[in-house]
Each structure stands twice: as structure tokens, then as C-alpha cells.
């Protein structure tokens, strides 16, 4: 299906740029893909793991894998050798394609550069029928524990209709801000293929470099996590803002906070802001375009696209026609009631809005009172000088847990002043159980896949 999408793109609009920053047209991309498919098949393994930085080669390998009916899994490029080894042991062996010298005992390791060097091999037929072939295994971010591995059929990921292709002015240039090991990164590639648009792959994950890439490559659409957007907005120089011509901002992967949505609206008044709700297990469920936090409570009363939503005991449940086949790492399936799947996201209905309160596993229990870290973080992020915040439970002999927080400050912020302001704001806006009892200023909060790593010290 993904192979057919590129074929369709190449046939209908061969000269359009599929990738801008090399550049690669749709036709060139498809031709390379046909050769790469043959190389991948020659690895003689039904499953291929990729441990490589995001690149056009990696994108084409994923598309090509479907033509020859392979299962693929992109590993986080920041994994250490021991982590790769552990994943391979847990998920099962397969060929490992890498872009750096790497030795893993008992694994067949191949260099990406050799796999994509296709001059010696015959391409697969460009009429190859791959409609229901292949699968992709996506590892959960693992920000709250050991990553799980969710296997999806490509065809089912594409079960949602793409937008009707529009005229030239409605074509977008998308930055691949999510890495390809992330579900949302794959969604960006699928979206570009489905709508015959253009992809830009940043050469670095440094926010300053990403901003320069957006300007230089004429990117007008970016999909990223709230953490990504918060850090990026903090790094935009005053001389750069006018040169960032964003018209589509997509936020997903973590719950957004009201302060972020306001900041995005004020920095990019011409951009449409879409919040996407997706999970690794269920895929993309729904999106919200009104720029407000959470989603309309009316979504609980009627089907939204392919899904239905309901709240059970403060947790969001989804009934969806599109979901993963199974975990392939032996994890038990997500909790479900009949055909409703638990998302693990806690929510509150406030008037006509449903607001996200954080992950169920992150709830802090302070003397029997439940505290949602997201609410604490929202308060902390309103304090001037705070660039990023993480609230978590710290084990405590008196109350079981207390709320602790780590703060990353903006570069020009004064620590003493921020500490005083944080204390004042928390006293005024949070109840006593919610107030952080320990505040640490850290150089940089740990992130994985542009999401805050949420494991607390409790």
C-alpha cells in the first residue's frame, strides 16, 4: 500500500519533489525504491531492524520493504548497543541494517550504504502488487518504562482517507520533525505520499539547526510534540520569526498545555493549529482544530471519523476499526472492556470540553490524594523563565509520595527569581497536595523522541 502510494505519486507527478533537501523527485524515489526492495529481499530475513539516522535512504527502505513483504522495525538511533541487543532478544532475531560500525553478537549486521547501493541488482517489478503485504513494528517511546513493540499492517495504517489532493498552492512542505522510529514520523511520510507533497528531513536534531532548515528549505508545515514546540519556540531568534512561514502546525504525542497553544497562536497567527490524538497501539484516532486544549465533549456522543470515545473511571477509552495486530514482545494486550481499548490517558470533563490530565501510570498519590502531573506542569510553565517542566512523584515516608519537579530555565532567566516566582504561583494556583515540595533546576530535561522522559524517582 505504501509502495503503491509512491508508485501512484511517481506516475501522476514524476517531476514533483518528494524530498526537497537532496533533492529527489517522485520518479527518482520510486526507481530507487524498486532497486532497494530487491536488496532488502536479498538479506534473506523476514524481519529487518534499522538502526540509522533519518534519511531519504531510510524512508525508501521502509517503502521498499512492503513490495517484498517484509516486517520492518526502526530502532531509536540513540539506543546503546546493549539496548539494541536487549530489543533483539525480546522481539526475535532479524537482519540489522545500520549506518555506523556496530557489532552485535549473533546478529546479521548490514551497512545501509551497501543495501541502497543498487547498481548490481535487478529492481523488483514496478507493477509489484503489495497491497496487503509487509508490516511495521513500532516501539512505544518507553518514557514511562520498557518500550513495547506494536505491529501494524501498512494497509490498516492507511485505512483513513487522505485529503483530496488540492491545487499547487495547497501543497505543503513537511518537516520530518519526528524521528522515523516514532509513529508520528511514519504518519508524516504517509501523509506526504498520500497527498503528493514534499518532505524535508533535518540533518540534525538541534533546535537552532531545525529552525534554519525550516527557513532555508521553505518548510511550511511541521508536526511535533509539545516538548518539541516548546523548545523550538524558545530558540527562535527575533530576526528569524518573520522568515518562518508556517501555515500548518500539528501537535501530538503528548497532551498539550494551554500556555503552549497560546504561545503558538501568538508566534504564528497565520498558521492552522491541529492537535492529533494517536497512540502507538491504535494509530491516529482523531484531531482537534479549534486551538483549545483537550477535545469537545460532543465527541463522546457520536463517532469521530473511524473511532468512538468514552470515559470510564476517568480514563479515555477508544473503540477503533484501526489498530495494531498485536504486541510482538510478549506484552499483554492493552486493557480493554469488550471492544473498547483503554488508552492509559486520564481525562476530566469540564463543561463542554474534555481535558487531558496525564498518563494513568503517572498519577502521583500524595497521602491518598491523586495529583495529575500535567496540571502541575501547566502551572509551572506559566511562570516566566521556565522553559520546560516535569512533575513527578517522589517516594516519601509520611505521605507515600510528594510532588517533585525538575525545571529547565530559559537561557536568560535568573534562578533565584524563578524559584521565588514558582513558589508564589504554586501557592496561589495549586492546592496543597499539588504543590511541588521539591524543586530542582536542571540544565536540560531528559527527552526521548522529543517527549519528556517521565519516569520519576519514586
Amino acid at each position: 500500500m505504501i509502495f503503491e502510494l509512491l508508485r501512484d505519486y511517481a506516475k501522476r507527478e514524476p517531476g514533483r519533489l518528494f524530498l526537497r533537501n537532496e533533492p529527489v523527485t517522485a520518479r527518482e524515489a520510486f526507481e530507487r525504491c524498486c532497486h532497494i526492495a530487491r536488496s532488502l529481499a536479498a538479506l534473506n530475513s523476514p524481519r529487518i531492524y534499522f538502526y540509522a539516522a533519518d534519511s531519504i535512504d531510510l524512508v525508501l527502505c521502509l517503502i521498499a520493504s512492503q513490495a517484498v513483504d517484509l516486517e520492518v522495525c526502526v530502532l531509536n538511533r540513540s539506543f546503546k548497543t546493549t539496548e539494541i541487543q536487549a530489543i533483539l532478544e525480546r522481539l526475535g532475531k532479524g537482519a540489522l541494517v545500520v549506518d555506523a560500525p556496530l557489532e552485535i553478537p549473533d546478529a546479521a549486521v548490514h551497512q545501509l550504504a551497501s543495501v541502497v547501493a543498487f547498481s548490481h541488482s535487478e529492481p523488483v517489478s514496478d507493477e509489484a502488487d503489495s497491497d496487503d503485504k509487509g508490516a511495521i513494528i513500532i516501539l512505544t517511546t518507553g518514557t514511562t518504562g520498557v518500550p513495547k513493540a506494536a505491529k501494524h499492517k501498512w494497509k490498516r495504517l492507511l485505512a483513513r482517507p487522505g485529503r483530496q489532493r488540492q491545487g499547487e498552492k495547497d501543497r505543503h512542505s513537511w518537516l520530518l520533525a519526528y524521528p522515523l522510529n516514532h509513529f508520528a514520523g511514519i504518519q508524516v511520510v504517509l501523509h506526504v505520499l498520500q497527498n503528493h507533497e514534499t518532505l524535508v528531513i533535518p540533518s540534525s536534531r538541534d533546535y537552532g539547526r531545525i529552525i534554519t532548515t525550516i527557513i532555508e528549505q521553505g518548510v511550511d508545515s511541521v508536526s511535533g510534540t509539545p516538548t518539541f514546540w516548546r523548545m523550538m519556540v524558545g530558540r527562535i531568534g527575533s530576526d528569524q520569526l518573520a522568515r518562518l512561514q508556517l501555515r500548518q502546525i500539528t501537535v501530538g504525542g503528548e497532551a498539550s498545555t494551554p500556555d503552549l497553544l497560546e504561545r503558538l497562536k501568538s508566534k504564528f497567527p497565520a498558521a492552522s493549529i491541529t492537535q492529533v490524538y494517536a497512540t502507538t497501539e491504535l494509530g491516529t484516532c482523531f484531531s482537534v482544530k479549534d486551538g483549545l486544549p483537550g477535545f469537545p465533549a460532543s465527541y463522546l456522543d457520536r463517532p469521530v471519523g473511524n473511532v468512538q470515545l468514552k470515559i470510564i473511571d476517568g480514563e479515555l477509552y477508544v473503540r477503533s476499526a484501526v489498530k495494531m495486530i498485536a504486541y510482538v514482545d510478549g506484552s499483554p494486550p492493552p486493557e480493554a472492556r469488550e471492544d473498547w481499548t483503554a488508552t492509559g490517558d486520564t481525562v476530566d470533563q469540564v463543561g463542554d470540553r474534555v481535558l487531558f490530565r496525564g498518563r494513568k501510570t503517572e498519577i502521583i498519590n500524595v497521602g491518598g490524594v491523586k495529583v495529575h502531573p500535567l496540571k502541575v506542569e501547566e502551572t509551572l510553565l506559566r511562570v516566566p523563565g521556565v522553559a520546560a517542566a516535569r512533575a513527578y512523584g517522589r517516594a516519601n515516608p509520611v505521605t507515600g509520595q510528594i510532588v517533585a519537579c525538575d525545571l529547565e530555565l530559559e537561557s536568560d532567566a535568573k534562578e533565584t527569581a524563578v524559584r521565588e516566582a514558582v513558589q508564589k504561583t504554586c501557592l496561589a494556583e495549586l492546592n496543597r497536595y499539588e504543590q511541588p515540595r521539591q524543586i530542582a533546576i536542571v540544565g536540560q530535561l531528559e527527552k526521548r523522541n522529543e517527549k519528556l522522559v517521565r519516569r520519576g524517582s519514586a
Binding site: 497521602g367 516519601n396 515516608p397 505521605t399 510528594i402 517533585a404 501557592l427 515540595r437 521539591q438
Partner: protein, 87 residues
């Protein structure tokens, strides 16, 4: 050493009370910590336990004790041979 220890603990409790909004906090070694004395409730005691642990790497609450007065906290650290202030 005991004087310095007592002073450090007193300072921590003053800081805790100030964070609660008590402007002119005065703390003496003989003061009762909870209601009827300095007025700490369970959340304050939890906070104090965390502050003491940060400062001294251990705290009486985590060691199964529930100190009633400032002096009992000082005594906990005095009894422990290697429990001097961390800095």
C-alpha cells in the same frame, strides 16, 4: 558540631514555614513540631522529611521514627556517627 547541626535544622524548618507563608518564623529546639506548636501537618512533615534527606542523606521519618520536637530531629542525627551535614 551539635550547635551547627541544631542551627542547620532550625534553618530548614524556618524555610519550610516561610514557604507556607509564615513571614516571621521563629524556631527553637524545644518547639513541638505539629499542631499546638509550629503547626506542621502531614504534608509539611512530608516536606520536612524530603528536605532533611536532601541535606543529610537520611531522615528520621524514613528510619521509622516520628520526631515530636526540633530537638528530637537534632538528636536523631547526633546519635548517628556518620550523619554530619552533607555540605
Amino acid at each position: 558540631m551539635s550547635g551547627a547541626l541544631s542551627q542547620k535544622i532550625t534553618e530548614l524548618i524556618v524555610r519550610l514555614l516561610q514557604a507556607k507563608g509564615v513571614e516571621k518564623a521563629v524556631v527553637n529546639p524545644g518547639d513541638f513540631l505539629y499542631e499546638g506548636g509550629l503547626g506542621l501537618d502531614s504534608l509539611d512533615a512530608a516536606t520536612l522529611a524530603a528536605m532533611l534527606e536532601n541535606e543529610f542523606k537520611s531522615d528520621p521519618y524514613n528510619s521509622g521514627e516520628f520526631p515530636q520536637t526540633v530537638a528530637e530531629i537534632v538528636s536523631f542525627y547526633s546519635r548517628s556517627s556518620n550523619s554530619g551535614p552533607a555540605n
